[in-house]
């Protein structure tokens, strides 16, 4: 099985492998993330939830519908009530994500997944966090980029020709987005004095620690928290620079991946971290994997080396 997957990956031209990785990575994490909610699904969405749907609906984004607002319409027209609608979405959303995963009607499935994900988020506005935003970003790119052209059912069934002219542009846009995310995240931390004096790291260790057995209080008199705070700021703010320099790219990539692994295990933000790792590997690791049977000509993974604006000219 492992050998088969490896063979499949080898058959994909190097400059398109990142698209497959993005599709599979985002859809896999989104499926597992949605599955993780199933045990308490009714406590979040049903009429008997912590915040009942009518109350939750009052704070929803008015641009998009929620389960509650749609159920008003569907119950009048089709006789489909709130519970039936909830069940429908509960079944259709993972199917749509599975279709993205296997690359079946990929663009349509990604768009459907995106719409359903936004509907779910709009129905649980008070419970949303960073991982949800990054799932939206991932599904949006799966809807825009030609992610279903390789290693997909679409490729097997429809045999559509692959137009590779703009792939480096797509990669560049994706990379710029990731770089901006890290830069602004670091910059915002820099503005808060608590990140500069170590207090934020100290607070994080206590208020967001899901590993109570790990007690770092004995380090309070050392400058560790101060240094850690500055390291996080530097890692994020300097990301756009060092990730795009060939010599430092690999080091910075593994530093950032390690940083997200630490966040996952220390703060319990497993899905947020998984998504960020998928984004990083998609942008700065997978495009640099090259293999001999590259039928599509050489990849241009160093999109930035031509100058960021070169691809737009």
């Amino acid at each position: 099985m492992k050998g088969h997957i490896f063979q499949l990956a080898k058959n994909i031209p190097a400059n398109r492998l990142w698209l497959v990785f993005l599709r599979v990575g985002i859809s896999s994490v989104a499926i597992i993330h949605f599955a993780a909610l199933q045990g308490d699904f009714n406590d979040l969405f049903s009429q008997d939830s912590f915040v009942s749907p009518d109350i939750s609906d009052a704070l929803k984004n008015q641009l998009l519908p929620s389960f509650y607002s749609i159920s008003h319409v569907t119950s009048k027209i089709f006789g489909i009530g709130y519970s039936a609608l909830l069940l429908t979405v509960r079944i259709v959303y993972p199917i749509a994500l599975l279709s993205v995963l296997v690359g079946f009607l990929t663009r349509f499935s990604a768009l459907l997944s995106l719409l359903l994900q936004l509907l779910i988020l709009n129905s649980m506005g008070l419970y949303t966090y960073g991982a949800d935003v990054f799932t939206t970003i991932g599904l949006f790119y799966c809807s825009v980029f030609p992610v279903g052209k390789d290693a997909s059912l679409d490729h097997l069934l429809f045999k559509k020709p692959v137009i590779t002219t703009h792939l480096n542009k797509f990669l560049l846009i994706f990379r710029i987005h990731i770089c901006l995310i890290y830069f602004f995240s670091g910059f915002e931390k820099l503005l808060g004095y608590n990140w500069r004096n170590g207090e934020s790291m100290w607070k994080m260790v206590h208020a967001y620690n899901v590993l109570p057995s790990v007690d770092l209080d004995f380090l309070a008199r050392t400058p560790l928290f101060l240094i850690a705070g500055w390291l996080v700021i530097a890692l994020e703010m300097l990301y756009p620079l060092f990730i795009n320099i060939t010599k430092t790219r690999r080091t910075w990539l593994w530093l950032v991946v390690s940083f997200h692994i630490a966040i996952a295990f220390f703060m319990g933000l497993y899905f947020f971290s998984a998504l960020m790792i998928v984004f990083n590997l998609t942008a700065y690791y997978i495009p640099f994997i090259s293999h001999k049977n590259n039928s599509d000509g050489p990849a241009n993974p160093d999109a930035f080396h031509d100058g960021p604006l070169a691809l737009f000219i």
């Binding site: 308490d40 406590d43 009052a58 995106l114 008070l126 966090y129 970003i137 949006f140 846009i173 208020a207």
Partner: protein
């Protein structure tokens, strides 16, 4: 008029290779510009809020004109670029805990998995954050409406926790609490242990 592209397929003229290139270029520039604008304003807004500085009217107006219109709001929503990415910044919010007293015991919301428990803690922290910063707003109507709304949310949660824990008492006390840890400086000065600071309490009576 149809034209032939590189792949030898006939496409409408608007999707010819040249136009496709222009379209992707235009979208790319638009997309990146949106992200930069949204993130820049988000930083400025959070900075002003954190340091209690009044926002510059011109900056606010430009942001409202450029980004706070229906097409842009839709675009931001669908592309995940509607808000900035400064998580846990500029400051880390205090963790909030919702706890009740029933039959002489502390009761909490119950979950079957970690992910939902974490999402609930986000809800708690969000409400706690509102309770702490509610007086910052100058819009009294907004404050009043939000106060009523969060009271409703609070009561809803209280009833659910009451039912989940099969509480037999007729009266339930439910409170929002902040876990107050000593700061790094306080800890160095010898202050140890944490306190649960009650910031709001309500009484639910079974009828």
């Amino acid at each position: 008029m149809p034209v032939e592209n590189q792949a030898g397929r006939f496409l409408p003229a608007i999707l010819s290779q040249k136009n496709r290139k222009k379209l992707i270029n235009a979208w790319g520039i638009f997309h990146i510009t949106c992200i930069i604008l949204v993130c820049s304003y988000s930083i400025y807004h959070k900075y002003c809020r954190f340091y209690k500085i009044k926002e510059n009217g011109l900056v606010k107006n430009i942001n409202t004109t450029l980004l706070f219109n229906v097409p842009m709001l839709y675009y931001g929503k669908f592309s995940g670029t509607e808000s900035g990415y400064g998580f846990f910044a500029p400051n880390i919010k205090s963790g909030g805990i919702i706890a009740g007293d029933c039959d002489g015991k502390k009761i909490y919301a119950r979950f079957n998995n970690f992910e939902t428990a974490m999402r609930f803690s986000i809800l708690s922290s969000r409400i706690t954050d509102y309770l702490i910063t509610r007086t910052d707003s100058t819009d009294s109507l907004n404050i009043n409406l939000k106060e009523k709304y969060y009271n409703l949310v609070f009561k809803n949660i209280a009833v659910k926790i009451y039912n989940q824990n099969r509480c037999r008492q007729d009266t339930l006390y439910m409170s929002y609490n902040i876990i107050a840890y000593p700061s790094l400086r306080q800890y160095r000065q010898g202050q140890r242990g944490y306190q649960l600071q009650k910031i709001k309490e309500i009484r639910i009576v079974k009828q």
